[in-house]
Symmetry: C2
Subunit: 344 residues, 2 copies
Amino acid sequence: MEDNLTSKSAPQLGKYDLIAELAKLFPVENASTVIGVGDDAAVIDPTEENVVSTSRVFLENVHFDLTYVPLCHLGYKVVTVAISDLLGMNAVPTQLSVNICISNRFDLKAVQELLDGMRACCETAHVDVVGLDVSTSRKDLVIAVTALGECEPARLVTRGGAKENELVCVSGDFAAAYTGLLLLEREKKVFEANPTVQPDFTGKDYLLRRQLKPEPRLDIVEALRREDVLPTAMANVSDGIAAAVMQICRASRCGCDIFEEKLPMTELTFLTLKDLDIVHTVAALNGGDDYELMFTIKQSDFEKIKKVDNVSIIGYVKEESAGCHIVTGDNHHVELKAQGFANS
Amino acid sequence: MEDNLTSKSAPQLGKYDLIAELAKLFPVENASTVIGVGDDAAVIDPTEENVVSTSRVFLENVHFDLTYVPLCHLGYKVVTVAISDLLGMNAVPTQLSVNICISNRFDLKAVQELLDGMRACCETAHVDVVGLDVSTSRKDLVIAVTALGECEPARLVTRGGAKENELVCVSGDFAAAYTGLLLLEREKKVFEANPTVQPDFTGKDYLLRRQLKPEPRLDIVEALRREDVLPTAMANVSDGIAAAVMQICRASRCGCDIFEEKLPMTELTFLTLKDLDIVHTVAALNGGDDYELMFTIKQSDFEKIKKVDNVSIIGYVKEESAGCHIVTGDNHHVELKAQGFANS
């Protein structure tokens, strides 16, 4: 029966049979999940007082390109993206619901590959898939993901609590995902011009992985708890450092100085950007797709934050009238600009 | 400034400015809404023990056709659809989040019209919009809606509790929305053939309204509480009576007899379907887009349910081995079939 199913294009199956079949991929793990896939709605019995919710939509050829994105990585990534919004509130992700719109370009195997990627990320993050709907699209794949999480009110962190003289921190490193995207786009063009040329990504694994299969920074939220650091403001860095800084500064009614030399970047990213003739600071500020966390902390938490791995202090909070600036290596203050709308 | 904004196509605006502007349309009303639009995620402090969640995606030219669907009605309808899933669990809707993907075909005025429709339905249902994201599409409009609600565990009703000899009830009447769709599609074809011909919908207002601007049946969930009727199983009827009956029977491991003569339908629907040469029972069973509620009740609740307006008893629950049948006027038993996948 199953082998028979996989040879059909997904829309040939009865909708309810298809969803029932796919739902088996997602056993329920969390005690807070009362009802998962299979009824009109999911039911949660949250352990903590506050429930945190976010939704994201991903369109083929806008947010992803199946020419070079494997479906299982895409599944993993969309879950990371949604979960990262919850982590950006200092919350713990618990449930996820997924809506997929597919055309007859996709067979059941393709859908399963996508869902396998989602499952892998959900397992990493101990998140239950509690909603799963599949419907029809004309051509392009459309994916909508809603992530639910929990937080005790005392640990909830918004964008709006940063105060003057506090430290601006980020997790991980930046611009790698953007650089990976540039490489993939370049090789796509080469391939389109000459389909016999195989792409050469030797030594660039890290950049590709950051673009294709980013990890949700649960470790940071957990470490902040462990070291008893409560950030004063926090944001998911999905559209580059500049956008995240400005979100925090706008909500907190403050300004900031961010130091170019403090922006964390791997040597591989730096050198590859140099090869590509891209200014590395611009890539870190506006590149996007990092899904790292930015947060501000009191200066008194400085010793504690040093115990949290993979966190860099990149600047400090100033009064609102000072504005938001990047301070270059030669001590120029350049005003940060909001990024545009395209592709975000 | 605002007039200036409306003359721009939406993607010309900065993304965050656009969302901040649009968020003003949605003031927060419910005490359970801690943080609404404007941070990485929404935060809820639920009043009841259980949180109920559902997500729906709507694609232009698959789920709606802007040739004849006004954007404000579309906004209203997508909220009704999402909320109806929560009502189908006997839960009370409280929050909503919206993701819109637009191309440069849409100006800010169009987006505002869509959101105005959403707001109107949210006001009717006392639902707060707590999430709002706008991103880019290549051409078609894409809308994703997540609805959150609350329920005390004792009043939560799944599809899975129906028992033999219980009564099958539905709210409202059926096939009107489907008939409205047929009329709209017919007039679209006429218009495409000859653009000077104006559509004639005289006397068909009810059918069009049911298709274009369906109401969420909050009144039914409220009346069931008031009359102290706790359904044993419940479902949102979004894809026709047959699909809902079979969802309940499958989850409850039971069968049922549904009586053709008991299917509620207005005379207008009946006569219009006759004009269109469509068998009215087929339209009620498989038409879809009704967003009415189906539920089963104990026979001992018969007197109580008579006090709830707009509810019809259409059949009764049988043992699983009996299967699911529609009993025709001349007492033939016809097995109910699951509907297909297309357009659902």
